[in-house]
């Protein structure tokens, strides 16, 4: 337990100390919020879908959690060669504890970053249906964070070259975001696109957060949470397995 705790604490401390990085990482969510919010807002409203900010705020929170969590896994590449990772790999403790500590730490950081963006959306005018919805939404957000932290650990354990980083960003993280329905409604999509959105775990994450916060869910919150839990278990097991195979 203490092993998991110190490794978790390490991630959180580092996050809280990196003020510059925190501010810098707000950049892309703010851009989406600003540009898409103002740019697509009028069209969205004319189509009878209501206020776009209400719709997309949960999506931007989901995006932030995705990006933050995935980045922690990418950082592992560097960490393996020039960082702290090797110190943990030769420690006389089971790899599983190390993986769990790291993943929970990464997930916590992603949730904190998500909370920050949530605050920003509130300032921008986003209004959740009720106050009670907020803690519930954060449970869903935590699930998203664990899923992608675990996936990031799996990827960080599997690729060796820095070039792999670009590949992962272009062919995994961006599609995960764009296919998730974070910035457009899932209703009435072409069949092929609809099929793709359904295999993207973030779809259920964003849908769940949206369902809880503004009462608009495509699949229903119960199904969303069930899918997230199942994927979460699967990805944590997968991440733990890849991490156990890691050779320095």
């Amino acid at each position: 337990m203490s092993v998991i705790y110190v490794l978790w604490l390490r991630e959180v401390k580092k996050y809280l100390r990196s003020r510059v990085q925190i501010v810098a990482s707000l950049g892309s969510p703010l851009m989406y919020l600003g540009v898409l919010g103002f740019g697509l807002g009028p069209v969205f409203q004319r189509a009878g879908e209501g206020k776009y900010l209400q719709f997309m705020a949960p999506g931007v929170i989901g995006m932030t959690v995705l990006f933050t969590a995935m980045f922690s896994g990418i950082a592992m590449l560097w960490d393996r060669q020039f960082g702290f990772l090797k110190e943990t790999l030769v420690a006389p403790v089971p790899r599983l504890l190390i993986m769990v500590g790291r993943t929970l730490g990464g997930a916590t950081v992603a949730v904190l970053q998500g909370a920050l963006i949530f605050a920003v959306t509130l300032i921008a005018g986003f209004r959740p249906a009720s106050l009670l919805a907020v803690p519930l939404a954060f449970l869903v957000i935590a699930l998203i964070a664990v899923i992608f932290s675990a996936l990031a650990t799996a990827i960080g354990s599997s690729i060796k070259e820095m070039q792999g980083f670009q590949m992962v960003m272009n062919f995994l993280v961006m599609p995960l975001f764009f296919l998730s329905g974070a910035i457009y409604p899932l209703e009435g999509l072409p069949k092929v696109l609809a099929a793709f959105t359904r295999v993207d775990p973030l779809t259920y994450g964003v849908d769940g957060v949206r369902g809880v916060l503004i009462g608009r869910a495509h699949f229903g919150v119960a199904l969303d949470v069930a899918v997230l839990l199942a994927v979460g278990v699967l990805f944590v097991l997968f991440g733990a397995w890849r991490f156990s195979k890691l050779e320095a």
Binding site: V6, K13, Q81, K86, V90, P92, P94, A248
Partner: protein, 266 residues
Amino acid sequence: MSAHPIIRVQHVVKSFGKVTAVNDVSFDVRAAEIFAFLGPNGAGKTTTIKMLTTLLHPTSGALELDGLDPTKHQTEVRRRFGVVFQDPSLDSELTAWENMDIHGVLYHVPRQIRRERSETLLTMFELWDRRADLVKTFSGGMKRRLEIARGLLHTPKVLFLDEPTLGLDPQSRNQMWTLVRNLNKAEGVTVFLTTHYMDEADRVADRIAVIDHGRIVATGSSAELKQQTGTDSLEAAFLKLTGTTIRDESATAADQMRQVSRVWRR
């Protein structure tokens, strides 16, 4: 002298695809001695250390550390050694004290002992005054000293030092070796170091194994190596043994990343 060697390596081979990094290497390290692996870049020093420290499995051959097989008894073996890798493994966003403390937790050192020994070691390695500073503000020499102090926190039987003085100025190098020698005397910890500086091996090590292209070409004290080769300096002995002076081999992928990391991390 203790009867059984603390490290025993027998006919160990490690291949990465077509590259044979370590090619049928055998040697013993005696308890409480300072043992040096001397060889040029790419000789197979780091690969050997990675095998002994449970990070890599040998392709064939037998390894033993304190009577245990690192491939089979990983956890037991890990308790018994401390290691300073060639590349830094500190968390530079944490303080010196935090780095020590996490290590203590990972090695199950009880809190009270953790604190006392951290204080002793940080004082000895002249880092006590800087314990609350982030490691990223440390000089290269300070970082290396901190890594050694950390590696000793759980009172290991063997301390591995992979090119610990690489990139340090002569003064820091001297200071470091004095500290390591003192520790070796005071605590009886076995030191297994690698270097491609001949003067260091000559001055610091009780015994030296000369390794080149994955093979050990000679083992013995500095005096014995000179005697074997009929030379009067280790430099000349090395030349005679390997047919070359110490040179920089072609850069590996890791070397290239190292280059990048130097640029980015000052």
